[in-house]
């Protein structure tokens, strides 16, 4: 990967501004920090000014279709684009009411705050032209802002488009101003639109306003969130600082405008990249230092010492040293050492360090040439965690302990932010000039639906704990299991003894649950990935039902090579177990039970079921995952139930270019699934519900315009008479709202099965939140469901409860999970392909849960 990044970078080395430092020098800090935050979200290129001005012709449009705005302003925030997609109006059965009815009401506190606006509040959008035309955005802004006519008004301006909360006296207003050079400039301000407060454009302007406010509260924007470096949480033994902060959003929920804030932490490494390199050099030795360095650093984000920018490390240029020169914007050559001394009074201590290379993509113009920035390691701080750190248990534990917040702790943080906003003079002033009033925290009423019964072979059980029925499982017979007659176990010589005792244990736990395990053929090999693979290639024949590998270490290459071979080249279910896991004293029984259940599933067995009131229902899960190996590729996974009981699953998976539409393969997958259903049930399913995960911001329209029609057409093609009815539900694990339950004086996570379908939902969507997990520590995140297409016409209550039921059916975990089981299966499948095999699994395995 690094090689490619480098090639990419090298290829661009010839571009004119070869060194970013020169660029920085030109603009010490973007002026826009304070005066035109609008640039970040609605950044319009002033190059296109003339083009834009031609389009307007001075007329006034008050409607606001998202797409036209997009054309005009260039880049609209992606999640805002989703808001203009109204799906509910097409769903007749929920047009009036989308709320469910069952369950016990529960009072919940949210992390949302009311933002009140005067009833007749409007946002006025103006277009500004300059005569003579001025190209410099900063000058355009400076001229407009300094004009007395506008100086006391609340405004957001990006150089072309001006937003005001008060209407100017005239539709077209001409102002004249003078540059300090004495040149007269005429500014023409033309009203183009009047926007109601519910318009997505207004949401964007509100976001800008809050961005300014948080900056006034001494927070810094990194990515989309805001952090407070003055109150860091320190983990010195791991060289980490955690900056507390918030993710914020302003949005229209049901009937009101709400400000949402959620706690977020930014992890910063308290050392410079140079120090990191030195440490690494010491650990790896010189010989493989450069490779190790590239492997660890490329892709990480750094903060520079001297400005507020963040950069991604795309490459390391070992041939450039601080004593080398680069060309400044004015054409003069200067060494990096001199430059930093002159510009920032910084003396570089290490003159042998290489430079980090970052490719700068223009925000304004996607086609613009990619430029390179050279950064000095000594002046860069690392953010985030290097890949290997995430497998450092001690470190992750330390981070988790510091960042995990109890429901009460979380509430206090958010309340403090609200308080700060209300107390800060500047912040209050900013809100007031826009006519906004920051109101109180919103509470709402949710419902807790009853817990579900689990059906096991001989009886229906009501689990002791709804969240985890592993104890209940231990003695119960599972629904169906194939017995394991011919199978292989591959282990290293060292692991022979533990393997033996494990196999004994496996047989012992298998019997009561109804899983018969015969004695396997045991093959002992040397401790290296090639030896394992070689043994598999040698001993696997068509009669082998399953291959178990006892891996000597969690080195990725063992797992990857085995999985790759056994899922595509020679399709046989496989089970990898770490030898280390089997050494855990006293745990062997429960480990063996878990593995036995997993093996049953891989062989096509069924563990438990739920009461599903709908007969002939197929549920489908779709997920998308980026390929870890190949940046331009994504893995699309599709998992569909193939029996009415929803216990057997069919899966398909495909690797495709990121540029291709996910929809393209869905049709093939869907037809495959319907065929399979037909074969098993001698008919088509009456209903299909698709749970679509892995949807990014701004993709909703694509989903509705391409994916849903593809799914529909495959369903229609399947039958000439009555085709199955289809529903499509978008599943999102990440969402802004959080719900906490008040109990006495404190706050708790809401109980399992809590559903919220009012207040924090969107008026234009058929959506709801569901809590289908428990957490003993920390705060729960609800899962957000948005029904974007619904032919089934199920009552909202039924849709919600069915979704809840589906969260019980993930066989890798005897308990509830945060998403419907088909989504989790699809996720597991894509993850396996994206991380390990990078190859589509064989169709022969499509009927089993081989990817568990």
């Amino acid at each position: 990967m690094s090689g490619r990044a480098r090639a990419r970078a090298r290829g661009m080395a010839l571009s004119p501004s070869a060194a970013e430092v020169g660029r920085i020098q030109a603009s010490p800090l973007p002026l826009s920090v304070a005066l035109s935050d609008s640039e970040a979200s609605s950044s319009s290129d002033h190059v296109g000014t003339s083009r834009i001005s031609q389009k307007f012709e001075g007329d006034l449009s008050s409607g606001d279709a998202g797409c036209t705005f997009k054309e005009r302003v260039g880049k609209i925030r992606r999640e805002m684009m989703d808001l203009s997609v109204c799906t509910r109006e097409k769903l007749a059965h929920v047009r009036d009411c989308k709320r469910g009815s069952s369950g016990i009401p529960v009072k919940l506190v949210t992390n949302l705050f009311n933002l009140d606006l005067p009833q007749d509040w409007q946002l006025y959008q103006y277009h500004v032209t300059y005569s003579p035309d001025i190209e410099s955005r900063r000058l355009r802004i400076a001229l407009l802002y300094s004009h007395t006519e506008l100086s006391n008004k609340a405004k957001a301006f990006d150089g072309v488009i001006l937003f005001l909360s008060q209407k100017l006296e005239e539709k077209v207003m001409e102002l004249s101003s003078e540059t300090r050079r004495g040149e007269a400039v005429k500014m023409t301000i033309t009203l183009t639109r009047e926007l109601p407060a519910s318009s997505p454009v207004c949401m964007q302007v509100f976001s800008i306003i809050f961005k300014r406010i948080l900056k006034k509260l001494s927070m810094y924007q990194i990515g989309r969130n805001f952090y407070k470096p003055s109150e860091p949480v320190e983990i010195p033994q791991h060289k980490l600082s955690l900056w507390p902060g918030f993710a914020i959003s302003v949005s229209h929920f049901e009937s009101r405008l709400l400000f949402g804030a959620d706690v977020s932490y930014k992890i910063l490494r308290n050392e410079t990249v140079l120090e990191f390199m030195m440490d690494l050099c010491h650990k790896t030795g010189m010989s493989c230092f450069t490779q190790a360095c590239e492997k660890q650093l490329i892709g990480l984000i750094v903060i520079t010492r001297y400005n507020n920018k963040t950069y991604r490390i795309d490459d390391i240029d070992w041939s450039v040293k601080p004593t080398h020169t680069f060309q400044k914007w004015d054409g003069t050559e200067i060494t990096y050492v001199d430059y930093y001394k002159q510009q920032y009074d910084i003396t570089l201590s290490d003159l042998n360090q290489p430079v980090l290379v970052s490719l700068l993509k223009s925000k304004r113009n996607a086609d613009a040439e990619v430029r390179m920035a050279h950064l000095i390691p000594e002046l860069c701080f690392l953010t985030g965690l290097p890949g290997q750190a995430t497998s450092d248990f001690q470190l992750m534990k330390a981070v988790a302990e510091e960042t995990r917040l109890s429901p009460l702790g979380r509430q206090q943080r958010v309340a403090r932010l609200a308080d700060d906003i209300q107390r800060n003079k500047d912040a209050r002033f900013e809100l007031e000039t826009w006519g906004l009033h920051f109101g109180c925290q919103m509470s709402l009423t949710g419902r807790v639906v009853p817990s579900e019964n689990i059906i096991i072979q001989d009886h229906i059980c009501q689990p002791v704990s709804a969240a985890d029925w592993s104890k209940d499982m231990r003695t119960c017979k599972i629904l169906s299991a194939q017995s394991l007659n011919k199978w292989l176990v591959i282990c290293s010589n060292r692991a022979e003894r533990v393997t033996e005792s494990f196999l004994n244990c496996l047989r012992r736990v298998g019997r009561p649950i109804g899983f018969n395990v015969n004695h396997p053929k045991i093959i002992k090999v040397q401790e290296n990935p090639a030896a394992f693979l070689h043994a598999i290639q040698k001993y696997v024949d068509p009669e082998v039902q399953l291959v178990m590998c006892i891996l000597p270490s969690n080195q990725k290459s063992y797992y990857d090579s085995i999985k790759k071979y056994l899922s595509s080249d020679c399709p046989v279910p496989s089970q990898c177990v770490l030898a280390q896991t089997l050494n855990k004293q006293g745990m062997l029984m429960s480990i063996a039970t878990k593995i036995a259940l997993q093996m049953t599933c891989k062989l096509g067995g069924e563990l438990w079921a739920l009461e599903i009131p709908l007969k002939s229902l197929m549920v489908v899960g779709i997920d998308v995952c980026k390929d870890a190996f190949n940046q331009g590729m994504v893995v699309v996974g599709f998992v569909a139930s193939i029996n009415p009981r929803i216990t057997r699953w069919f899966s398909r998976c495909m690797l495709q270019r990121t540029t291709a539409d996910v929809a393209d393969c869905l049709k093939v997958f869907m037809i495959g699934a319907l065929n399979r259903w037909y074969k098993h049930n001698h008919g088509l399913p009456g209903r299909i519900i698709v749970y679509r995960d892995g949807v990014g911001d701004g993709q909703l329209r694509t989903l509705i315009e391409y994916e849903v029609p593809q799914l529909l057409s495959s369903v229609k093609e399947a039958s000439s008479s009555t085709s199955p009815r289809l529903s499509v539900v978008v599943v999102r694990k990440k969402c802004m709202p959080r719900f906490l339950m008040e109990t006495g004086r404190t706050l708790q996570n809401p109980p399992l099965g809590t559903i919220v379908d009012s207040g924090a939902t969107r008026p234009e969507w058929y959506d709801f939140y569901l809590i289908s997990r428990v957490a003993c520590r920390g705060t729960l995140n609800p899962t957000y469901y948005n029904v974007i297409y619904d032919d089934n016409g199920l009552k909202p209550d039924h849709m919600q409860r069915l979704t809840f039921k589906l969260c019980h059916l993930y066989y890798n975990w005897p308990g509830l999970i945060s998403v419907p089981a088909p989504c989790q299966y699809a996720h597991k499948l894509t993850f396996l392909v994206a991380q390990s095999t990078h190859k589509e699994p064989s169709l022969e395995l499509a009927n089993s849960l081989f990817y568990l």
Partner: protein, 387 residues
């Protein structure tokens, strides 16, 4: 955008080299930058603690000066409130200032007000810069100016720059360089005024300039003429510290930088440095332990590959290390590794920040584990926390 900014900055500053269509004389670096560089050099030479920029405008000079390590208070005054408002946040500390704090405190304040009004918060400054300011005054204001700046503020040093009209002969048009200029002085006029003011208020003055004239026209002098005024008599401390007086200016923006003078930042930095040094010593110890185990394998000899970063700290004995031979050495007891505080404080940077062992111990209290008598830092010899 960056390219545009340059132009913009210079335009707003009303620079001569940007006269439209008739760019005959071009300065490199641009003249406005040369002026700022001049002030910056003065700061480097004289190390003032308190610096004010009168007529700070777009705060460009303050942006440059905020990186100077000696300055502890930086003030900008301007009559244009709007410009201060939008530009204020450009002066706020950046994220890096929190990660690697300055040594000394720095407070930056922007005031909205007229330079011709007295505000006691501008008393006691070491350097006051009036860059391209006086030519914007009409004669009445110009007459008031010295009394406020020289008489009332009375800083140790004042730097005043203004256009040199002798140079204007090289420009094609015969107008002032900026439409707001009320006058442009020849060198003679400026120097007469300056000497007069200097004498009256007890200052000495030196004349210089930036923007060298082109070859052949040396006699017109520099494009911008500069007077550097220095107070002859040291201000009596009492007069300087009398800060009761009127607050006429309105504070538009103020920010305070994190620094090692602040206890929490100092403790943080000390903790990190201690951890770093202890870890380095520990690594060295681990290496030597390993070498004991698998003898003769010595550290890899003279590395054939090019050095990509300067030598890793471990194999090289620096001067500081050699000096430390005398100081208590780190030691192991069981699987614990101890580094005496005396050893830690012998590292120059830590020594510089903490001063003595007691102070260091105070800093480390409750943050880092010490041995029972509090004389050494105690860590596990073998940890899995490294990656």
């Amino acid at each position: 955008m960056a390219e545009n900014n340059i132009e913009f900055t210079s335009v707003v500053d009303g620079d001569v080299e940007e006269v439209p269509n008739k760019k005959i004389i071009k300065f490199n670096p641009p003249l406005y930058k040369q002026r700022y560089q001049f002030v910056k050099k003065l700061v480097e030479q004289h190390q003032p603690k308190k610096v004010a920029d009168l007529g700070c405008g777009d705060v460009c000079l303050l942006m440059i000066l905020k990186y100077q390590k000696c300055i502890e208070e930086l003030v900008g005054v301007d009559i244009n409130e709007g410009r201060l408002k939008w530009n204020g946040s450009r002066l706020s500390p950046c994220m890096g200032d929190h990660l690697d704090p300055r040594e000394l405190d720095l407070v930056i304040t922007l005031y909205h007000g007229s330079v011709l009004e007295k505000d006691c918060r501008l008393l006691g400054f070491d350097l006051v810069a009036c860059i391209e300011l006086i030519e914007h005054f009409d004669s009445e204001d110009l007459a008031k100016f010295p009394e406020v700046v020289f008489g009332y503020m009375s800083p140790a040093m004042i730097v005043i720059s203004t256009p040199n009209s002798d140079f204007n002969s090289l420009f094609p048009s015969a107008v002032f360089r900026d439409s707001d200029h009320k006058f442009e002085w020849s060198r003679m006029q400026f120097q007469t005024w300056a000497l007069d003011v200097a004498n009256h208020y007890g200052y000495s003055v030196e004349f210089t300039g930036v923007g060298e004239p082109p070859a052949g026209a040396e006699d017109v002098g520099c494009c911008t003429q500069i007077g550097v005024f220095r107070k002859k008599a040291k201000a009596t401390e009492s007069a300087v510290l009398e800060h009761h007086g009127e607050h006429v200016y309105e504070v538009i923006y103020t920010t305070s930088y994190p620094s090692l003078q602040q206890m929490d930042y100092c403790r943080r930095v000390v903790t990190y440095l201690v951890y770093r040094e202890v870890n380095r010593m520990k690594q060295r110890c681990q290496v030597s332990l390993r070498q004991h185990e698998l003898e003769p394998e010595s550290a890899d000899p003279g590395n054939p590959t090019r050095k990509f970063i300067s030598d890793p700290p471990v194999p090289v004995l620096t001067e500081a290390d050699k000096a430390m031979e005398m100081i208590p050495q780190p030691f192991c007891i069981g699987d614990k590794f101890y580094v005496p505080l005396e050893r830690i404080i012998a590292y120059p940077r830590l020594g510089h920040i903490c001063g003595n062992v007691e102070k260091l111990r105070e800093f480390l209290f409750d943050v880092v584990e010490l041995n029972c008598d509090g004389s050494a830092v105690k860590v596990d010899l073998h940890d899995c926390g490294d990656y």
